[in-house]
Subunit: 319 residues, 2 copies
């Protein structure tokens, strides 16, 4: 922030649309549209954006321009540029492109891990350690932060319920392997508020300051209910996707990310500041609609509008 007087927002909303959203749809967004979208999101006040994934372009052609997108995004001031890397090779490419932060998915479910990345959870944890070693070879001021998200932390479509002890044990092993933060992901839309609150409380107890954010899905309509529970547990970072892009919340198996617009409205109306201007955020949807014609965008707030007399958290006397 340019002014010393600006209070740090209460909650960090980490936008995953340019990665999680775009990789889940068949159309590819042109690189210049991605960069205009990312700039518009940053202009609306988003402080962290996951801009791409360093995977094989054969697997995800929509992400083939990840290095170019990173190179453009890091020119935007006050923006943390994040990229997903599945392994050491991806991390090398992401670091060469200049990312500020790496995020690695590690699954708590053995079956999901094998199906998704062809590694056991133990092998995935070992890969995190390798990336840590790589990062530590860099000069201190050039080291990206290393975040891990534990996927299927709240249940797996293949294995069903995932034992909470296993999730917490993995978080501890990942912290020891060198992750700077470890978050929990409801990859399958199985989570409920009681479970979310319980598991995040255990995460804070287990790894303290290394406890990361919540990546919640709305597959069964429970996304924002789970946010309320995570807030209760002390979580201050939430992933979400503009327009719920790439995940039809009505289709089983779809991504179903919670919608950034509805999340920001939830937080701001509760008196929790995000630093995000909802009107400018909603205006950024036009870039997606122009670049991806016919792609459905979700969200209740963009359609219903803000309540009469709505005041954002930072301008409220009770916040």
């Amino acid at each position: 922030m340019s002014s010393m007087n600006v209070k740090t927002p209460d909650i960090l909303v980490s936008e995953v649309g340019p990665r999680d959203g775009l990789q889940s749809i068949s159309q590819a967004m042109p690189t210049d549209a991605k960069l205009r979208w990312i700039a518009a999101l940053a202009g609306a006040g988003l402080r962290e954006i996951e801009v791409g994934s360093f995977v094989s372009p054969k697997l995800l052609p929509q992400m083939a321009d990840a290095a170019e997108v990173v190179a453009g995004a890091i020119k935007i001031s006050d923006l943390t540029v994040l990229a997903l890397v599945p392994n050491l090779k991806g991390a090398e490419r992401a670091i060469a492109a200049g990312v500020h932060k790496l995020t690695m998915p590690v699954s708590a479910s053995r079956q999901h891990s094998l199906a998704n990345i062809g590694k056991t959870p133990e092998e995935a944890i070992a890969e995190v350690a390798k990336v840590r070693t790589l990062v530590d070879t860099l000069p201190q001021d050039q080291r990206p932060a290393l975040e891990v998200g534990i996927s299927t932390a709240f249940g797996c479509t293949m294995e069903g319920p995932v034992p909470e002890d296993r999730v917490i044990e993995m978080a501890e092993l990942l912290a020891k392997a060198g992750a700077d933060s470890v978050g929990l992901s409801d990859t399958t839309g199985y989570a409920n508020p009681a479970q979310v609150k319980r598991l995040f409380k255990r995460l804070f107890a287990g790894i303290g300051a290394k406890a990361g954010g919540a990546h919640l899905h709305n597959t069964r309509g429970q996304g924002l209910a789970n946010v309320v529970a995570a807030l209760d547990a002390g979580v201050t970072t939430f992933d979400s996707s503009q327009g719920g892009l790439g995940g039809c919340p009505y289709a089983p198996g779809a991504t179903g990310n919670i919608v950034t617009e509805d999340l920001v409205f939830l937080l701001e109306s509760m008196g929790l500041s995000t630093g995000i201007d909802i009107d400018r955020l909603i205006a950024a949807r036009a870039i997606i609609q122009a670049a991806l014609p016919g792609e459905p965008l979700y969200g209740h707030v963009p359609d219903a509008g803000l309540p009469k007399g709505f005041v954002p958290a930072a301008l409220r006397s009770d916040a």
Copy 2:
């Protein structure tokens, strides 16, 4: 319940679809379809259903058969049959039809009250007192319960924010006027979880055992998030509408009731029993679809299905 061993469910889900849902759409559901739907809901475990509204058939032709529907519904065992009455005259008709419970809407917003029922809030409270007097003329075992829902309790599309002091003062006046219970309604979809928790806590503090349930809307996608907050405040009764019938959650001004299927999944997955069988509940949608061709039904759980390994609250060891 037929067995003495069956534990009372933790939460009462009060279905409002046959009243709130059906009155908000232009098609009229035939009386026999209404009764088959109500029977199917009761068969799925719903214990309370708002089956109609005793208003002028000129205003709401979809509710013209309210007396007939009540007469049929009260034959179903273990079901509390509820009807909305806007005034004394409606209450007389509802009582003649044999309802178990009357519900009267009273608005916390003066402008909304005048626009909706042509009465000031003070006049509406006086009408509740008249209905109380009428009910008390009946033999003790024939008196229906008298419930009031304070509409626009969380904000008004005409007035904007509604002072919380005014809402609590009205609840106290309504309790004194003879309401058996006073609930709070988010008529406009303006509520946020912090507000819901705060206002229900004040309601419990203000009128104690007369504090009623939560009637929440999903207009801005916050419906189930607000349920979590209401649960935190100690609320145990929630209104909802099967399939979100009659309220497109994406249209401003629409009813936008929270969806019964998603609400029941939320509660059961949290370990809070409802007595409702989700599969049988979802099956009841077929009756609506056949009787109201083309009418959209909402809900994430009916589309996404239950999680693998899902166990209802009553069968869980941790519940």
